[in-house]
Protein backbone atom coordinates (compact mmCIF):
# COMPACT_ATOMS: atom_id res chain seq x y z
CA UNK A 1 0.00 0.00 0.00
CA UNK A 2 1.27 3.45 -0.90
CA UNK A 3 0.46 6.93 0.37
CA UNK A 4 -1.53 7.32 -2.84
CA UNK A 5 -3.74 4.44 -1.65
CA UNK A 6 -4.12 5.98 1.81
CA UNK A 7 -5.01 9.27 0.12
CA UNK A 8 -8.21 7.63 -1.06
CA UNK A 9 -9.08 6.61 2.51
CA UNK A 10 -7.93 9.67 4.46
CA UNK A 11 -7.65 12.42 1.85
CA UNK A 12 -6.90 15.19 4.35
CA UNK A 13 -3.98 13.39 5.93
CA UNK A 14 -2.46 11.93 2.79
CA UNK A 15 -3.05 14.70 0.30
CA UNK A 16 -5.61 12.71 -1.63
CA UNK A 17 -8.60 13.74 -3.70
CA UNK A 18 -11.17 15.34 -1.37
CA UNK A 19 -13.90 12.98 -2.58
CA UNK A 20 -12.34 10.17 -0.57
CA UNK A 21 -13.32 7.39 -2.92
CA UNK A 22 -11.56 4.26 -1.74
CA UNK A 23 -9.43 2.47 -4.31
CA UNK A 24 -9.16 -1.26 -4.90
CA UNK A 25 -5.91 -1.63 -2.96
CA UNK A 26 -7.52 -0.36 0.25
CA UNK A 27 -10.65 -2.50 -0.22
CA UNK A 28 -8.79 -5.69 -1.11
CA UNK A 29 -6.13 -5.34 1.55
CA UNK A 30 -8.60 -4.61 4.34
CA UNK A 31 -10.81 -7.54 3.39
CA UNK A 32 -7.78 -9.81 3.29
CA UNK A 33 -6.82 -8.76 6.81
CA UNK A 34 -10.36 -9.34 8.09
CA UNK A 35 -10.62 -12.72 6.41
CA UNK A 36 -7.20 -13.87 7.62
CA UNK A 37 -8.19 -12.90 11.16
CA UNK A 38 -11.51 -14.76 10.89
CA UNK A 39 -9.72 -17.82 9.52
CA UNK A 40 -7.21 -17.80 12.39
CA UNK A 41 -10.07 -17.53 14.89
CA UNK A 42 -11.48 -20.73 13.44
CA UNK A 43 -8.10 -22.42 13.54
CA UNK A 44 -7.77 -22.51 9.77
CA UNK A 45 -4.32 -22.78 8.20
CA UNK A 46 -3.93 -22.35 4.45
CA UNK A 47 -1.86 -25.03 2.77
CA UNK A 48 -0.85 -24.51 -0.84
CA UNK A 49 -1.53 -27.32 -3.30
CA UNK A 50 -2.75 -30.81 -2.55
CA UNK A 51 -3.71 -31.52 1.02
CA UNK A 52 -5.12 -28.06 1.70
CA UNK A 53 -8.58 -27.79 3.23
CA UNK A 54 -11.51 -25.50 2.50
CA UNK A 55 -11.44 -22.20 4.42
CA UNK A 56 -14.45 -21.18 6.52
CA UNK A 57 -14.45 -17.74 4.89
CA UNK A 58 -12.79 -16.22 1.85
CA UNK A 59 -12.74 -12.88 0.02
CA UNK A 60 -11.95 -12.55 -3.65
CA UNK A 61 -10.23 -9.51 -5.12
CA UNK A 62 -12.38 -6.75 -6.60
CA UNK A 63 -10.99 -7.63 -10.04
CA UNK A 64 -13.37 -10.59 -9.87
CA UNK A 65 -16.02 -8.51 -11.61
CA UNK A 66 -14.02 -7.51 -14.68
CA UNK A 67 -12.60 -10.99 -14.94
CA UNK A 68 -16.02 -12.60 -14.61
CA UNK A 69 -17.45 -10.36 -17.33
CA UNK A 70 -14.77 -11.44 -19.78
CA UNK A 71 -14.00 -15.00 -18.78
CA UNK A 72 -16.44 -16.78 -16.42
CA UNK A 73 -14.82 -20.22 -16.52
CA UNK A 74 -11.38 -18.70 -15.96
CA UNK A 75 -12.73 -16.77 -12.98
CA UNK A 76 -14.30 -19.91 -11.58
CA UNK A 77 -10.80 -21.36 -11.58
CA UNK A 78 -9.81 -18.71 -9.02
CA UNK A 79 -11.55 -21.00 -6.54
CA UNK A 80 -9.18 -23.88 -7.18
CA UNK A 81 -5.99 -22.74 -5.39
CA UNK A 82 -8.22 -21.52 -2.53
CA UNK A 83 -9.66 -25.04 -2.10
CA UNK A 84 -13.13 -23.81 -2.99
CA UNK A 85 -13.58 -25.52 -6.35
CA UNK A 86 -16.35 -28.03 -7.02
CA UNK A 87 -18.19 -29.42 -4.03
CA UNK A 88 -15.54 -27.99 -1.69
CA UNK A 89 -17.32 -24.65 -2.08
CA UNK A 90 -20.30 -26.07 -0.20
CA UNK A 91 -18.16 -26.54 2.92
CA UNK A 92 -17.46 -22.80 3.11
CA UNK A 93 -19.57 -20.46 5.26
CA UNK A 94 -19.01 -17.18 3.52
CA UNK A 95 -17.44 -15.90 0.30
CA UNK A 96 -17.12 -12.12 0.00
CA UNK A 97 -16.74 -10.32 -3.32
CA UNK A 98 -16.31 -6.54 -3.44
CA UNK A 99 -17.40 -5.04 -6.74
CA UNK A 100 -16.61 -1.61 -8.14
CA UNK A 101 -18.71 -0.70 -11.16
CA UNK A 102 -19.95 2.66 -12.41
CA UNK A 103 -17.78 4.31 -9.72
CA UNK A 104 -19.66 2.61 -6.91
CA UNK A 105 -18.57 -0.05 -4.43
CA UNK A 106 -20.91 -2.84 -3.38
CA UNK A 107 -20.51 -6.22 -1.77
CA UNK A 108 -21.64 -9.69 -2.75
CA UNK A 109 -21.86 -12.30 -0.01
CA UNK A 110 -22.22 -15.93 -1.02
CA UNK A 111 -23.22 -18.29 1.78
CA UNK A 112 -22.65 -21.72 0.23
CA UNK A 113 -23.92 -23.69 3.22
CA UNK A 114 -27.23 -21.81 3.06
CA UNK A 115 -27.18 -21.83 -0.78
CA UNK A 116 -27.73 -18.09 -0.53
CA UNK A 117 -26.45 -15.05 -2.41
CA UNK A 118 -26.78 -11.64 -0.74
CA UNK A 119 -26.13 -8.13 -1.99
CA UNK A 120 -25.10 -5.15 0.12
CA UNK A 121 -25.30 -1.71 -1.43
CA UNK A 122 -25.30 1.57 0.51
CA UNK A 123 -27.17 3.24 -2.36
CA UNK A 124 -29.78 0.48 -2.14
CA UNK A 125 -29.67 -0.64 -5.76
CA UNK A 126 -31.26 -3.95 -6.63
CA UNK A 127 -27.92 -5.38 -7.73
CA UNK A 128 -29.61 -7.92 -9.93
CA UNK A 129 -26.80 -7.80 -12.46
CA UNK A 130 -24.25 -8.63 -9.77
CA UNK A 131 -26.19 -11.33 -7.96
CA UNK A 132 -26.89 -13.04 -11.28
CA UNK A 133 -23.20 -12.90 -12.08
CA UNK A 134 -22.42 -14.40 -8.67
CA UNK A 135 -24.89 -17.19 -9.34
CA UNK A 136 -23.24 -17.82 -12.69
CA UNK A 137 -19.91 -18.06 -10.89
CA UNK A 138 -21.34 -20.55 -8.39
CA UNK A 139 -22.65 -22.61 -11.29
CA UNK A 140 -19.21 -22.61 -12.95
CA UNK A 141 -17.50 -23.56 -9.70
CA UNK A 142 -19.91 -26.30 -8.61
CA UNK A 143 -20.40 -27.73 -12.09
CA UNK A 144 -22.30 -31.01 -11.68
CA UNK A 145 -22.95 -30.25 -8.01
CA UNK A 146 -24.96 -27.14 -8.89
CA UNK A 147 -28.67 -27.60 -8.26
CA UNK A 148 -30.47 -24.53 -9.54
CA UNK A 149 -33.54 -24.88 -7.27
CA UNK A 150 -31.44 -24.99 -4.11
CA UNK A 151 -29.97 -21.54 -4.63
CA UNK A 152 -31.74 -18.31 -3.78
CA UNK A 153 -30.88 -14.65 -4.04
CA UNK A 154 -31.77 -12.41 -1.11
CA UNK A 155 -33.37 -9.23 -2.45
CA UNK A 156 -33.91 -7.71 0.95
CA UNK A 157 -31.41 -4.84 1.21
CA UNK A 158 -29.89 -4.74 4.70
CA UNK A 159 -27.06 -2.29 4.19
CA UNK A 160 -27.38 1.10 5.84
CA UNK A 161 -27.59 3.97 3.36
CA UNK A 162 -24.65 6.30 2.89
CA UNK A 163 -25.18 9.97 3.76
CA UNK A 164 -23.20 11.47 0.89
CA UNK A 165 -21.70 10.55 -2.47
CA UNK A 166 -18.33 9.37 -1.17
CA UNK A 167 -18.68 6.64 1.41
CA UNK A 168 -19.74 3.56 -0.56
CA UNK A 169 -16.31 1.95 -0.14
CA UNK A 170 -16.41 2.32 3.63
CA UNK A 171 -19.91 0.83 3.78
CA UNK A 172 -18.72 -2.07 1.66
CA UNK A 173 -15.96 -2.76 4.19
CA UNK A 174 -18.18 -2.33 7.24
CA UNK A 175 -20.83 -4.62 5.77
CA UNK A 176 -18.09 -7.22 5.30
CA UNK A 177 -16.96 -6.69 8.89
CA UNK A 178 -20.40 -7.28 10.42
CA UNK A 179 -20.95 -10.31 8.16
CA UNK A 180 -17.67 -11.85 9.34
CA UNK A 181 -18.58 -11.14 12.97
CA UNK A 182 -22.08 -12.47 12.53
CA UNK A 183 -23.60 -9.19 13.66
CA UNK A 184 -26.56 -7.20 12.42
CA UNK A 185 -26.08 -4.62 9.69
CA UNK A 186 -27.71 -1.88 11.73
CA UNK A 187 -24.51 -2.00 13.84
CA UNK A 188 -23.02 0.24 11.15
CA UNK A 189 -23.30 3.83 12.37
CA UNK A 190 -23.91 6.32 9.61
CA UNK A 191 -22.21 9.71 9.58
CA UNK A 192 -21.47 12.11 6.76
CA UNK A 193 -17.91 11.23 5.81
CA UNK A 194 -17.62 8.19 8.07
CA UNK A 195 -14.49 9.72 9.62
CA UNK A 196 -14.25 7.34 12.56
CA UNK A 197 -14.67 4.32 10.32
CA UNK A 198 -12.02 5.60 7.93
CA UNK A 199 -9.54 6.04 10.79
CA UNK A 200 -10.37 2.58 12.07
CA UNK A 201 -9.78 1.00 8.67
CA UNK A 202 -6.49 2.90 8.37
CA UNK A 203 -5.39 1.70 11.80
CA UNK A 204 -6.17 -1.89 10.85
CA UNK A 205 -4.23 -1.55 7.61
CA UNK A 206 -1.20 -0.16 9.43
Amino acid sequence: LTSHDFGTLLPHMFNGDAKGWLNDNIINEYLEILVNYAQRQEGYVYVRGKGGSTPPVHAFKSQWYTSMKGNPSGTARWARPMHLFGEKLLACNLVLIPICHHSHWRLIAIKPKDRLIEYYDSLHGSGREYTQLAKEWVREVLQKQFVEEEWSICTNQRSKAQANASDCGIFTLLNALVLLRGEEHNRVLVTNGMDDARLRVAATLL
Partner: protein, 93 residues
Protein backbone atom coordinates in the same frame (compact mmCIF):
# COMPACT_ATOMS: atom_id res chain seq x y z
CA UNK B 1 -13.12 4.94 -7.60
CA UNK B 2 -10.95 1.96 -8.15
CA UNK B 3 -7.77 2.61 -10.05
CA UNK B 4 -8.53 1.49 -13.54
CA UNK B 5 -7.36 -1.55 -15.38
CA UNK B 6 -6.91 -5.09 -14.21
CA UNK B 7 -5.15 -7.21 -16.77
CA UNK B 8 -5.60 -10.83 -15.97
CA UNK B 9 -2.53 -12.87 -16.22
CA UNK B 10 -2.80 -16.44 -17.29
CA UNK B 11 -0.27 -19.07 -18.01
CA UNK B 12 -0.87 -21.71 -20.65
CA UNK B 13 0.78 -25.07 -20.13
CA UNK B 14 4.52 -25.20 -20.40
CA UNK B 15 5.65 -26.54 -23.73
CA UNK B 16 9.23 -27.11 -22.76
CA UNK B 17 10.84 -27.73 -19.48
CA UNK B 18 12.45 -24.38 -18.96
CA UNK B 19 10.33 -21.91 -20.90
CA UNK B 20 6.72 -20.99 -20.28
CA UNK B 21 4.35 -19.37 -22.70
CA UNK B 22 2.46 -16.77 -20.76
CA UNK B 23 -0.60 -14.94 -21.92
CA UNK B 24 -1.32 -11.54 -20.42
CA UNK B 25 -4.78 -10.24 -21.14
CA UNK B 26 -7.06 -7.43 -20.04
CA UNK B 27 -10.01 -9.18 -21.68
CA UNK B 28 -9.56 -6.98 -24.76
CA UNK B 29 -5.93 -7.36 -25.72
CA UNK B 30 -3.75 -10.42 -25.48
CA UNK B 31 0.02 -10.38 -25.39
CA UNK B 32 2.10 -13.54 -25.29
CA UNK B 33 5.46 -13.86 -23.62
CA UNK B 34 7.94 -16.67 -23.48
CA UNK B 35 9.93 -16.55 -20.28
CA UNK B 36 11.88 -18.84 -17.96
CA UNK B 37 10.39 -20.13 -14.75
CA UNK B 38 12.81 -17.97 -12.82
CA UNK B 39 12.36 -14.74 -14.78
CA UNK B 40 10.99 -11.88 -12.71
CA UNK B 41 7.51 -10.90 -13.83
CA UNK B 42 8.45 -7.21 -13.73
CA UNK B 43 9.94 -7.67 -17.20
CA UNK B 44 6.68 -8.89 -18.59
CA UNK B 45 4.61 -6.31 -16.69
CA UNK B 46 6.71 -3.44 -18.02
CA UNK B 47 6.54 -4.78 -21.56
CA UNK B 48 2.79 -5.20 -21.37
CA UNK B 49 2.27 -1.69 -20.01
CA UNK B 50 4.61 -0.22 -22.63
CA UNK B 51 2.75 -1.91 -25.43
CA UNK B 52 -0.68 -0.93 -24.13
CA UNK B 53 0.39 2.58 -23.19
CA UNK B 54 -0.57 2.05 -19.55
CA UNK B 55 0.99 3.31 -16.36
CA UNK B 56 2.33 0.52 -14.09
CA UNK B 57 0.75 2.25 -11.07
CA UNK B 58 -2.72 2.03 -12.56
CA UNK B 59 -2.80 -1.66 -13.40
CA UNK B 60 -3.01 -4.81 -11.29
CA UNK B 61 -1.75 -8.19 -12.37
CA UNK B 62 -3.50 -11.29 -11.13
CA UNK B 63 -2.95 -14.99 -11.56
CA UNK B 64 -5.87 -17.20 -10.58
CA UNK B 65 -7.34 -14.31 -8.62
CA UNK B 66 -4.25 -13.53 -6.57
CA UNK B 67 -2.19 -10.38 -6.95
CA UNK B 68 1.18 -10.93 -8.56
CA UNK B 69 4.06 -8.61 -7.67
CA UNK B 70 6.88 -7.46 -9.99
CA UNK B 71 9.40 -9.42 -7.92
CA UNK B 72 7.51 -12.70 -8.40
CA UNK B 73 8.48 -15.31 -10.96
CA UNK B 74 6.45 -18.21 -12.39
CA UNK B 75 8.16 -20.46 -9.83
CA UNK B 76 7.01 -18.40 -6.87
CA UNK B 77 3.50 -17.81 -8.21
CA UNK B 78 2.46 -21.22 -9.38
CA UNK B 79 1.94 -24.01 -6.91
CA UNK B 80 0.13 -26.25 -9.35
CA UNK B 81 2.31 -28.32 -11.65
CA UNK B 82 0.49 -29.08 -14.88
CA UNK B 83 0.63 -32.79 -14.17
CA UNK B 84 -1.70 -32.35 -11.24
CA UNK B 85 -4.38 -30.68 -13.32
CA UNK B 86 -4.81 -32.59 -16.54
CA UNK B 87 -8.38 -31.47 -17.09
CA UNK B 88 -8.08 -27.87 -16.04
CA UNK B 89 -7.95 -26.47 -19.54
CA UNK B 90 -5.20 -24.65 -21.28
CA UNK B 91 -4.57 -21.90 -18.85
CA UNK B 92 -2.76 -23.65 -16.04
CA UNK B 93 0.96 -23.65 -15.74
Amino acid sequence: MSDNGSPMQQKPEDGQQEHLNIKVTDNNNEVFFKIKRTTQLSKLMNAFCDRQGKNMQSVRFLFDGQRVQPGDSPDTVCAWPSTLLPSAGSNQC
